[in-house]
């Protein structure tokens, strides 16, 4: 255990003092996230928001409430068919849809509480932060003017299930999974360099074994990946307003994925004697995954032939699983399929790399 920590600290110093490595593991992926994030986001913040009305009561009271909403400068009220409004919400043409239930007026007359449902897109930050408060405020003010003090109307926000993802929503978990792949696979270059320089042979001439050497490498990569994931999450949430869910499980999943890609990197490293030899191997592993694993775009838009390749790449399963957790995006595969495929990759790559491990 002391040896594991001792070796990890040595590797950590080596890493932290390598300016090129710092740039490519921390700065570059964040820049990458920002650049693609900008491409996938529109930054002109609207000043008014379209909301839809479904008036099932068609009463004086409901009309009065709708009037109150119309007076709110933030809201641009639309009133068409109920079905059309819900469809508009789904395609992002409405920030929210406000529904007055049948019996709204009757309830008010009897002085009982009544609920107005406000449907919104769970990932739409403006809807949560601006539109729903605006609706609540308008309804509340109107209500108080009528009764004096006792509010009778409760505004109940309801998050809808949505099918369409915004590009940035799709991209966010994808780029995180991609970074994990990079850290895992490219980490093997260091191992080859240390073997080439005779450092591994020297370590092997002490009391420590293969488990300590590989273990310290895994701890280092996990540390690097954790920092990287937090940085990317911060950019995605605070710069691009991504709404993230299940953060804990998602990070656990991504770190599990890291083990898979470290395993793949180790296999690659055992086939290369020099740094010059391992680099093209690692690049030829990472490039297809960069293009075909659904990091930037859904795999469905690719021709079927390419989709077959996509379905063979481990990153496809990791990014799909990350997307399901982090933004509760629509699954491409069932979660258990993702986890099973990743576990199989983990098992095979680690068994092979432990078998092929060489000190020199």
């Amino acid at each position: 255990m002391r040896a594991l920590v001792g070796l990890f600290v040595a590797l950590l110093y080596e890493f932290l003092r390598d300016k090129t490595a710092i740039f490519f593991t921390f700065v570059f992926p964040v820049l990458f996230t920002v650049i693609f994030g900008v491409l996938f986001t529109s930054f002109d913040k609207p000043t008014t928001f379209d909301v839809g009305i479904i008036d099932n009561d068609q009463s004086e009271s409901s009309t009065a409430a709708i009037e109150a909403l119309r007076l709110n400068p933030v809201l641009n009220v639309n009133e068409t068919e109920a079905v059309m409004e819900m469809e508009a919400l789904r395609s992002d043409d409405r920030a929210a849809v406000i529904e007055f239930m049948k019996g709204y007026e009757t309830a008010l007359r009897m002085n009982t509480k009544v609920t107005i449902r406000v449907f919104y897109e769970p990932r739409n930050q403006d809807a949560r932060q601006i539109v729903i408060p605006a609706v609540t405020q308008s309804i509340d003010t109107a209500d108080r003017m009528q009764t004096g003090s006792m509010p009778r109307i409760i505004v109940n926000p309801i998050a809808t299930e949505t099918v369409d993802l915004d590009p940035i929503d799709f991209f966010g978990p994808g780029i995180m999974a991609f970074s994990i792949m990079q850290i895992g696979v490219f980490g093997s270059i260091n191992l080859v360099v240390r073997r080439e320089k005779g450092i591994l042979k020297r370590l092997g001439a002490t009391t420590i074994g293969q488990a300590t050497v590989l273990g310290s490498e895994v701890i280092l990569r996990t540390f690097i990946a954790s920092v990287q994931l937090v940085l990317q999450l911060a950019v995605l949430v605070f710069v691009f307003g991504l709404t993230i869910l299940n953060v804990g499980p998602a990070l656990a999943l991504l770190l599990f994925g890291l083990l898979v890609f470290i395993g793949i990197g180790l296999v690659a490293s055992s086939f290369a004697k020099t740094e010059e030899a391992v680099l093209p191997i690692v690049q030829s592993i990472s490039l297809p995954m960069f293009l075909l694993s659904g990091v930037f775009f859904p795999i469905d838009i690719f021709p079927p032939v390419l989709q077959v390749i996509s379905n063979a790449l481990p990153l496809t399963f990791l990014s799909d699983a990350a997307r399901q957790l982090l933004i509760e995006g629509p699954p491409r595969f069932d979660m258990w399929v993702n986890l099973t495929v990743l576990s199989a990759w983990l098992l095979v790559t680690w068994v092979v790399s432990i078998r092929l491990f060489k000190w020199e």
Partner: protein
Amino acid sequence: MPVVEVNKLSKSYGDLRAVAEISFNVEEGEIFGMLGPNGAGKSTTVEIMEGVRQADSGLVRVAGLDPQKDRNSLRQIIGIQLQSSSLFPKLNVDEHLKAYGSFYTHTRKLDDVVDLVGLTERRRGRAGELSGGQQQRLAIALALINDPQIVFLDEPTTGLDPQARRRLWEIITELRNGGTTVILTTHYMEEAEALCDRLIVMDHGSIIESGTPSSLINKHFSESAIGFSLKDGALIDADAIQSSQYVTEIRNVGSTIEVFAANVPGAISDVLGLAGGGKETIEDIHVRKASLEDVFLKLTGRTIRD
């Protein structure tokens, strides 16, 4: 009581017989040298003693332990310096020693080790920024961090300038004086001569000679070497010199001619006579004792760096 026993040790890489049935003992507290050209099998033999490599056949005991079966207990009590410097380029001296120290249950005090190898001024210097000699001393410091009984040094001075080499010789001698057994390989004759209490001479995987440096020289050369060079345009009759009753051998070493003789005054007088008194023809005449280099040349018919 020998601290290392090697009996009929053999190791092949494919068709290449790297080590062929060699046997030797190393006594406790001595500097034991393994001398020979590159590819003689020195490193392979050392790495088998260290448990880094496995022998094909033969018996090896280091401090009474089997390097393969008792690998872990052996590693606790031996120190190893490999031929390649194998340091982390961005770690400094102290960090190296701390990392390697964490691999052993018993360690020496950091200050003592740094002091012993003369790196006290460079403790914060990163390995990549150290000079070749300092890197080599750090590699030796790493071999000493676990306070080993036996230290293996594989060509510790290769590639170093003469001053750095002498500095390292002092450290190695100090180690031996402190009671540590040192086993070192080298292809420098003068190093083996200056450092080793006993040595074996290896070539093509076999031991061709063994003993103390002076016993080896005395056994093969009772003569001294008289070296001289000729002035521009001067000629001398080599056959005539060879026929002198005092001269046993004549050799050309670069621009210098070397004449081996037991009776030095007689041989010099003969040479000067043949060279017409020598004033016009000979310059820079000097006499030296025969060296291990001469022994190796005599045994193998080539110099060690060929």
